[in-house]
Each structure stands twice: as structure tokens, then as C-alpha cells.
Symmetry: C2
Subunit: 315 residues, 2 copies
């Protein structure tokens, strides 16, 4: 038995791009796109459409900007099946002017990522996307650092002021336990009477997949994953685990089993994502993973007690 | 707030020994013992006391047998604090005669591992342990392959015929999802009116820690973990994650943060435990991990679609 409303979003290239400045070879992106489409996953996110005025194109790769020409190169000639294409736009690092009308674009959905403080920018961007013909979702980041009153107001605004299909619970720091996931999904449902709830979980405490299941049990219908959990720091909920769990017969795990060893595992040579004690500690302490990344890439990378002292001293 | 009844059992050396035929250097075992005792964990399990007639001592290391003299070498001179020492005995691979009276032993608790089919051997062994003065637990393995009627009868027998402190839900194949953990914990509680329920979870689907939390939420009070999840195949619930989650002030994670990089991570050079697609697939399919281990150590280790065909053809 399965829930037809459930939508899976594979954001391997977009989220993984946080770990390598979106510097994926075109061949890798095409292979991921092809495999995700063949697996029957509902959406594939190939990057950010962020502003070239806020990110230097000499430093960041093409998947940070997702020009239409680049997206066409990534997707042309590949059977997309029922899979839709999306990009993410950071509310505070992108421009509504960078969106063409949907009829002139290969993009189907725009996902707006925002902090609570930027919710009005996010709403403007979401409404621009809607007006230009795109589907739209909003991912609210870092909610574990937000006061309830501000988050509640943001949710009420998103419900009344946008046509977003879903609003996401994002566990930016990998800090949430199942009971906290329950709390947020229920809170979101209380405000979002005309929208779905989504979940985007991080794996600092090896809970990304479990928390995604917890979201499903509580009624979340938009689910993010990445291949082999690729992502910044400890990474994300592995898409292949999600497809192994979900019973919808349209999903097929086999194309994912093929692309993972060919294109994802080789990335381990340059991106050290996964379970590491420093990321575990920032998760437990509900802190940004950058402090752990800095430690791991420094001279005392295996001095975990030193990191513990360091991170518990950080206010 | 914490539940004082909760007992954590670190079984790094015992369970990890399944991945290296219990061939740990004495120095490693002493370091793990010292760190676990310093962390305030309730029990530390240093190996099996299995029969030398069923395991060849030339092939298996000393931690498969845990002779009293060996356990003394591993523990002498180390402040044990409140931490008790335990060994595991396989019901079908050990002899009750190998247990000294507790007054002559350094062991505090005997954990009996059994399949449902061997439950009468397990009960005899558990009762021998009780009569000789030891605390005792029973771990029922491979329950996801058991018919309910047989498991129910085994639980009823353990309740009425033994003085075991706890009986464990063991997810041998890493196949359980949270709702199945709920089902088993509730079933066990229905039979075990005078005993605690324990949980021992495997990490094939990155759910070992999450399922342990699920067990805690449902009332399980005996919790198994290993340092950095060391174990056969995908490994176990990491003890350090458990201590990060539990709020009992007697626990101290810092000694674990010290021993992991010094003694556990170096084992990665010879033991390849953790998240691998073949172990994920045996977890999803509720199959023994040995078929995955054989594949991973063979010439087609990264041919995951080949393994998928292989394992779905295995009856």
C-alpha cells in the first residue's frame, strides 16, 4: 500500500553542490539526471539559480546558476519520463528577474530556500515563480534556531500569501529527533491548510532517513533525498533508501544502483561527506556544520576531544 | 529528564569480533574497556565465551572464548567505575560447563544469544548462569524470519522459566522499520511481565540509532551499541550517538571521543563496516548480510545491479 500524494525530490546535484561549489562535470549531471528520471522519482533538482552578482562564476560552477543553456545541455536527448525538473533559488541570494516565463524554460518547479528572517523576500520570489507559470515550493532553513512566534508568523504568511505546493521542514543542522520532527510537521499542518508539508533531513546523527520516514508517518508528502546521501557535511537522506522503503510501483531502484558506483562513489575522492564525529557533535549541539568542516580540514582533524572543547566553547 | 532504568551495553569488541574473527590486539581491548568504563556506560561486553570444540582457537582470536585469564589481562589495573563486564554465549555454540561460579570470575553478566529454534538450549544456559550467580539477558536473533506463534511461545517460556533481566529484540538483518520495532517491543512487553525489553539494531538502512530511539520511546530499557557502529556488515547503533541522546548525567561522551580516533578508526584499514549498497539491499530484502559480504569481497564488488539480480534470485 502506498500514498499516491507522495512526491520524491532528488536534489543530489543541487545539495551536493554545497560541498564542491557546484563544480560537477556535465557528464555526471547528465548521468544523475538520466538515472533519476528512469527511476520514476517525481522531481530532480539540478542546482541553484542564484545571482551571478552574489556568487562569483569564476569560483562557483554552472550548477550554482543553472542558465537555461546549461540545463538544456544537461537534459537534452534524455527520456525524462514523468520526472519534472526543478532548481532552487535562495531568497536572499537570487533575483526574481532571473526567471524566464515557464514557456521559455526547461524548468518545471522553483524551490525557494529561505530563512525565517527573509520570508518576505521568499514570498515575493515564490509569487514571481507562480506568476511566470512554475510550480513552487518553499524550504524554510534553520528552523531549529527560530523562535516559535516568528516561525508561526512565516507559516501563516506562506499559507495566505503564496500558491506554493509545499512548505518544507528543513533540519539544517541534523539536530532533530523523531519527536521534534513530529512537532514541526504537526505545527506546519496547523498553518498550511491548502499546502503539503515537505521534509529535508540531514544525516549528522544518522537520522536523515529515519526522520524522513517519521515525516511520512505524520503526513509529509514532499520528500528530499540525494544519491548515497551526497551533500555538505554528513549529507542527506539517501534517495535509494527512500525508494527501497516506498511502495509506489512507479519507482524503480535499479537505475540508481547503476549510477551510484559509476558517478557518485568516485566523488568520495574529493568530497568527504558522511558520518564523522565532528558533524555528529554539531548535530547534537544544533550548530552549523561549517565549524566541523573547518576542523576536519585542519591539522587536528582526528582530535575529537579538542573539537568537543572548541565547539562547546562557541556561543 | 531521563529514565534511570535505562542500561546501555557497549558490545564493540563482542559484535565487532564477528567482522574479524575476534582478532583484536589486547591493547585495543584494554583501550575500549577503559574508555567505556570512564564514560559511565552500564555494561561492556568483551567477547563471546563460546566453545573451543565448536570454534577453532587457531582461527578465532581470544575474544571468541574470553578465558578468565584473558579477561583479567584486559581489565586489570583499569578503574571500572560502575561499569559491569559481560560476555555473550551462543546457545547452540557454547557449553554451560564453561561458566565458573561468579565468585571465581571477573564476569558480571552472561548474555545468551539464541535463535527461536534453540530456545530450550538458551533457557538451560540462562538458568545455569543464574544458578552460578551471574546476571543474565537473552538476545533472540533473526526474529524477522520467525513465525509469530513460535516467537510467542519462546517469549512465554523465557518469562516463566528464566530469571533473565531482559530479553532483546534483535534486528539481525537490519530490516526493521520503526513501526515494526513498535510491534515487536509491544509484543515482548505483552509476555515479559517481570523482565525488561532490550533492543539490538543493525545499520543496513541507516536506522540502527533511530530504531534504538524508537525502542526507548516504546519502553525498551536495555540498549546495545558499539563504538562508531563497529560490527559485521553495515554495523550497529553507535554508542556515542546513544550517549549524545540520553540525558542521564552519569554518562560522559568524552572518553569515547578519545578512543574512537585512536583505536576504532584505524580498524577501517582491515574491516570495511558501514553503509554499502549491498548491505542496504540485504536489509531491505530481510536477508542475511553474508551474501553481501561475499559480493563486496569479490571481483564485482561495485556491480550493484548485478548484486541486486543475484540477491533477488536467492530464495
Amino acid at each position: 500500500m502506498y500514498r499516491p500524494q507522495i512526491k520524491v525530490v532528488d536534489c543530489t546535484i543541487r545539495d551536493g553542490g554545497l560541498a564542491n561549489k557546484s563544480q560537477f562535470p556535465l557528464e555526471t549531471v547528465r548521468a544523475v539526471y538520466k538515472a533519476v528520471c528512469a527511476s520514476g522519482v517525481d522531481y530532480v533538482e539540478l542546482g541553484y539559480r542564484n545571482s551571478k552578482e552574489m556568487f562569483n562564476p569564476d569560483e562557483f560552477g554552472p550548477w550554482r546558476f543553472c542558465d537555461e543553456s546549461v540545463l538544456k545541455q544537461a537534459t537534452e536527448g534524455i527520456d525524462r519520463g514523468q520526472t519534472k525538473l526543478c532548481v532552487m533559488m535562495d531568497a536572499h541570494k537570487s533575483s526574481p528577474d532571473d526567471l524566464l516565463p515557464r514557456s521559455e524554460s526547461v524548468i518545471d518547479m522553483v524551490r525557494v530556500a529561505t530563512y525565517v528572517k527573509d520570508i518576505d523576500k521568499a514570498i515575493r520570489l515564490a509569487n514571481t515563480a507562480t506568476e511566470k507559470g512554475y510550480e513552487c515550493c518553499v524550504n524554510i532553513m534553520a528552523i531549529s534556531h527560530e523562535g516559535d512566534q516568528f516561525l508561526d508568523e512565516a507559516l501563516a504568511q506562506l499559507e495566505s500569501e503564496t500558491k506554493a505546493l509545499a512548505v518544507y521542514v528543513v533540519d539544517s543542522f541534523g539536530a532533530l529527533y523523531s519527536e521534534v520532527v513530529d512537532f514541526y510537521v504537526k505545527k506546519y499542518q496547523g498553518f498550511l491548510k491548502t499546502k503539503e508539508v515537505g521534509v529535508h533531513m540531514h544525516n549528522n546523527q544518522q537520522l536523515a532517513f529515519a526522520n524522513t520516514i517519521e515525516g511520512i508517518i505524520r503526513g509529509a508528502n514532499y520528500l528530499d533525498g540525494t544519491l548515497f546521501g551526497l551533500g555538505r557535511g554528513a549529507g542527506n537522506c539517501p534517495t535509494e533508501l527512500l525508494l527501497g522503503f516506498l511502495k509506489n510501483p512507479k519507482f524503480n531502484i535499479v537505475p540508481l544502483l547503476k549510477v551510484i558506483p559509476e558517478y557518485i562513489l568516485p566523488l568520495q575522492q574529493t568530497i568527504d561527506w558522511g558520518y564523522h564525529i565532528p558533524y555528529m557533535l554539531t548535530g547534537i549541539l544544533d550548530k552549523h556544520p561549517d565549524v566541523a568542516t573547518a576542523w576536519i580540514t585542519g591539522p587536528r582533524k582526528l582530535d575529537y576531544t579538542g573539537f568537543y572543547d572548541h565547539v562547546t566553547d562557541v556561543p
